[in-house]
Every structure is written in structure tokens, then in C-alpha cells.
């Protein structure tokens, strides 16, 4: 229990910074929304835009004049940010011990590496839950001036859950990379590059129907906000794939990390 407490405390400052960034960003975004809310002229402007352009900005189904429509548009930015946060968290929570050379202290204490991995995972999980709650609360607070109905809260909950699952996926990927790769410096960079690559893949896919087969490759595609808004629920197939990624990453890390040499 004392290890968990310390790990949460050690990550607290980072969580706080990210929370502040999210809160500021959410309020900035929603302040812009006042120009679109219930504004029929804006709908006309959007309708007049070429379809290709709307697709490129993932705006093809978005109705910017409604609260849910607006959230569906900004959700992708949430996804990218939580992706970056989670991959760095997952990677850092393992790699920091070697990076800061504290591994020689921690791993010579009477605790197994598997137990440490598990506790660190738990600490990271708690962090992601907290950040999800911050996103939900900040969005609710920022959207207060507008008429928020049950449908809005249902959709916001779905988007928050999507953010949480995306965090879980990237957390596991970062965690796996730090556990498996001996070079802790490259594992952090590689993890961050991966998030941007997957985001880029998501963007490119939107431009051509021929790239449809790539949809399983990028987790950003798993929780398309406009699709969730349209269908009213998260896609079960993608949820199963997400669970699979998390479980496989965790098991691989749990097998490899306890057996690898620690770089000191």
C-alpha cells in the first residue's frame, strides 16, 4: 500500500499540470462555442463548405450549433491529448527508475518486479481515472451557460469513457515499451512518436475510403465521436480490441520485465 501511495504522490504534479491544461483548453474551446450555439447562419456556412475539407477536419457529421455536436468535434483533441499523457505516464512510471538511477535502490528491496509492475500500473490507472473525471467535470462546468439535457450528459459520459479507454490503451503501450526496451531514453521518444503516428494515420484515413482497412490500427479511430453520437453507443468490436491490446501489453510486460537486466 505504501508503494502505491508514493507512486500516486510522485505522479501528482504531472497530473495536476495536465488537469490545468485540460481545464484551460476546455474553457477556451467552449468560449468559442458561444458564437456557434443555436446559430442557423453557422449551419449554412458549414453546409456550404466542400465535403473533402469537412472530412479532413473530421467535421462531416458535426452540427456545430448543438452542445453534443460541438463536443463531438472537439473530442478528437481530447483523444490526442489523453493519448500523449497516457503513453508518457505508462512509459515514465517504469522508465523513471532507470532514468533517475533509482532502480538500484528500489529493485534491491524485498519486493518482486512483478508486484512493482502491478502497483505502478494501479497508480497509473488511478491517475487516468482522475484525469477522466477532470475532463468530465471541466466540460460540464464550461458548458453550463447552455441548455444541457440528458442527451448531452449521456454523450459526455461516452466521450469521457472513450478518453479513459484510449488512455488505458496508450498507458499499456507506453508501459510495455518501457518494460521491454532496455534503452529507456528511446522508449520514451518512441512512445510519443507512436501517438503522433497513430493520430496521423487517423487523419490520413479520413481522406480516402481505400484506407478503410487501417481502421483497426489506430485507437483514435475506435471511438469516433460523431459515430458514437449517431449510433448512441460505443462500438463493441472496438471495445474488445481495446481490451485485447491492454491485456496483451500487460502480459508481455509482466513476462519480460522481471527477466531483463536493469540498466544502471
Amino acid at each position: 500500500m505504501h508503494i502505491l501511495k508514493w507512486e500516486i504522490k510522485a505522479q501528482f504534479k504531472t497530473l495536476l499540470i495536465w488537469s490545468v491544461v485540460f481545464i484551460v483548453l476546455i474553457f477556451m474551446m467552449t468560449s468559442e462555442f458561444s458564437a456557434y450555439y443555436d446559430n442557423p447562419e453557422m449551419s449554412d456556412v458549414l453546409e456550404a463548405m466542400p465535403e473533402g475539407m469537412l472530412k479532413a477536419f473530421s467535421m462531416e457529421n458535426a452540427n456545430l450549433t448543438t452542445t453534443t455536436g460541438y463536443i463531438s468535434l472537439v473530442a478528437l483533441y481530447f483523444y490526442i491529448m489523453v493519448g500523449v499523457y497516457a503513453v508518457l505516464l505508462g512509459n515514465g512510471i517504469i522508465a523513471k527508475e532507470e532514468r533517475d538511477k533509482t532502480a538500484e535502490f528500489l529493485l534491491t528491496l524485498p519486493v518482486s518486479r512483478r508486484k512493482l509492475l502491478f502497483i505502478k500500473w494501479l497508480a497509473a490507472l488511478i491517475n487516468t481515472i482522475l484525469l477522466s473525471l477532470v475532463i468530465f467535470a471541466a466540460t460540464t462546468a464550461a458548458m453550463q451557460p447552455y441548455d444541457l439535457d440528458q442527451a448531452f450528459f449521456k454523450f459526455l459520459t461516452q466521450i469521457t469513457v472513450s478518453c479513459f479507454i484510449i488512455m488505458l490503451i496508450f498507458l499499456s503501450i507506453g508501459y510495455l515499451m518501457a518494460s521491454v526496451l532496455k534503452r529507456y531514453k528511446s522508449s520514451g521518444k518512441l512512445s510519443a512518436v507512436l501517438v503522433f503516428f497513430l493520430y496521423l494515420a487517423n487523419d490520413i484515413m479520413a481522406l480516402s475510403d481505400k484506407l478503410e482497412f487501417m481502421k483497426y490500427l489506430t485507437p483514435f479511430k475506435y471511438f469516433e465521436a460523431q459515430k458514437i453520437l449517431k449510433e448512441g453507443s460505443l462500438d463493441t468490436t472496438y471495445l474488445i480490441i481495446s481490451g485485447g491490446i491492454v491485456i496483451v501489453s500487460m502480459i508481455t510486460a509482466f513476462i519480460i520485465y522481471p527477466k531483463r537486466d536493469i540498466k544502471i
Binding site: W6, D100, T102, S112
Partner: protein
């Protein structure tokens, strides 16, 4: 009973050598010295014993249990002080030590922590990042010994400690040993090992060259002698019994001497010299002498 048993322990870092077929045992209650120059494989041996590194072949047992199968259980009874200590910078010393205590079953560790901190004059309220190298080392000593381990593993423990603290540290180690702890003491400083240890293993280029009683090592008590002067009668010194490894360059004569020190000083006093140095040879020089 053997506390440590290493058998043919071999570790490579990729293609480069770490240790090769290291075999040694440390008996319960002894202070065992492990000496060798930098890069000889001392830390690799220790880190393999502690489960930070996995050996390519061979076995390592502590308290009769396999170091890799029973790592956490074994480490309950091990206190480890590495050559360089690194802790979480933002933590206060007291928090770090309390955190460490949480890992050990010994309920008296917090009492002992205070005792040790007092002896080592360690300020528990400071943050790790504000500590000097020597003070971090003190934290390492308290952290390594607060749970009264049955085996103390020390890797170059005195670097960064001033002579007074070194002496206090050696006194603590001796006391722990008297209370039943076995000590595995790795160092490249021969004098430290000679004053503290019962037996010693010498490692060079990843291999154990010699395991011996410190007594017999002491009998091989070589001195390094340097004479400076305009006209050194080198023949007189070279012919002295017990003189080896002679180097005569310009106005300087260097040699190793093992024998009656009075004979040497007598000869020195009969000659007009500018300077005389009689020193402990470095470990490297002993290696050069023995194992060339």
C-alpha cells in the same frame, strides 16, 4: 554454513565481458573482502547476486536459496550499499527511510534508523536533492542497515565519506558483524579490506584470481620504495634481499620491498639521498607484480 555461494557465475553484456565463471563462498559471520581494480567485475558480481542482472550461466545462492527464484525473500535479510546512491530527489530523508522501512518485516527498523542517523550525523528533515554526495552516502548507510540485515553487501562503500565518517562507518560494520551479520565488502582500496576482512577474493578482468585469508595476504606485505638522488648506489639496493620490480630512471630508483624494514632504512641512512618514499603499493601495482 555459507551465506553466499557463487558457482561458475558468468555474465556478458552483449559481447563484452562482465564476469566469467566466478566461484566463491562467504561463510556465516565473516567479513569477506572482494577486491579488484575498476572494471574488474565487482559491481557486476554484486548486481547479479541481488537480481538486478541475470547471469548467462552459473548459479548464485544466498542463505542457501537461489537469488533469482527467491529474490524478494532473500532481500528481506540483505542490506545493500552501492558505490553511488540515487534516491528520489524530491523526497525528504525521513520519508525515504520510512518508505524503505515499509518493505521490511523487522518492526524495529525505525528505532534503528534514528540511532544510525544520529551516529552518522544525518539530518533527516532535508530533501534528498539538497544533500551533498557524502550525505547521500550516509542516507545509503542508514537505509542499508536499518532493518538489521543478516547479510550486508557493500560496494565501494567509503567513497564520498570523510575519514572521520569512514571510521564511524567501519565501527558500525564491525558492530553489526559482532551481532551476527555477515559482510560482503567490495573495494579497490587494499588498506580498507586488509583492516576489516577475514578473507578476501581478488577479481581481475572478470575472473577470480585468488581467494585467500587476509593473514597470508598480510605476510606478503610489499612496500613500494622510491629513492631520489644524484648518485644512488642502485646495486646496493638491488642486491638487498626482498627487492623486486626494479625501475631505475635517471635519478630515481623504484622497487618493491618485502623483508626486514630495518635493513632498508639502514641502507638508506648510509647514502646521501634527496628524497625517500615508502608507500603501500596500489592494488594495480600488486596485480602487476603478482599476475603479470
Amino acid at each position: 554454513m555459507n551465506v553466499i555461494e557463487l558457482n561458475q557465475l558468468t555474465k556478458y553484456y552483449g559481447k563484452s565481458r562482465g564476469i566469467e565463471q566466478v566461484t566463491l563462498d562467504v561463510k556465516e559471520g565473516e567479513i569477506f573482502g572482494f577486491i579488484g581494480p575498476n572494471g574488474a567485475g565487482k559491481s557486476t558480481t554484486i548486481r547479479t547476486m541481488l537480481g538486478l542482472l541475470y547471469p548467462d550461466s552459473g548459479t548464485a545462492k544466498i542463505f542457501g536459496k537461489d537469488c533469482f527464484m527467491s529474490g524478494p525473500e532473500i532481500r528481506q535479510e540483505i542490506g545493500y550499499l552501492p558505490s553511488e546512491v540515487f534516491y528520489y530527489d524530491k523526497m525528504k530523508v525521513i520519508d525515504l527511510l520510512n518508505y524503505t522501512a515499509g518493505f521490511f518485516k523487522n518492526k524495529n527498523s525505525k528505532v534503528k534508523m534514528r540511532e544510525l542517523a544520529e551516529i552518522m550525523e544525518l539530518d533527516l528533515k532535508k530533501r534528498i536533492e539538497d544533500l551533498s554526495y557524502g550525505n547521500k552516502k550516509k542516507v545509503g548507510i542508514v537505509q542499508g542497515l536499518m532493518h538489521s540485515p543478516k547479510l550486508i553487501v557493500l560496494d565501494e562503500p567509503t567513497s564520498g565519506l570523510d575519514p572521520l565518517m569512514q571510521q564511524k562507518f567501519f565501527d558500525i560494520i564491525k558492530k553489526e558483524n559482532q551481532n551476527g551479520a555477515s559482510v560482503f565488502f567490495s573495494s579497490h582500496i587494499l588498506a580498507e579490506v586488509q583492516s576489516l576482512c577475514n578473507r578476501v577474493a581478488i577479481i581481475k578482468d572478470g575472473q577470480i584470481i585468488k581467494v585467500d585469508d587476509i593473514k597470508s595476504m598480510r605476510e606478503d606485505n610489499y612496500k613500494k620504495v622510491t629513492l631520489k638522488g644524484n648518485q644512488i648506489p642502485s646495486d646496493q639496493f638491488i642486491n638487498l634481499q626482498g627487492v623486486t620490480n626494479i625501475h631505475h630512471v635517471d635519478r630515481e630508483l623504484k622497487f618493491f620491498y618485502k623483508g626486514d624494514i630495518n635493513q632498508l632504512t639502514h641502507l638508506v641512512s648510509q647514502n646521501s639521498l634527496k628524497d625517500v618514499l615508502i608507500e603501500e603499493p596500489t592494488l594495480e601495482e600488486i596485480f602487476m607484480h603478482y599476475y603479470r
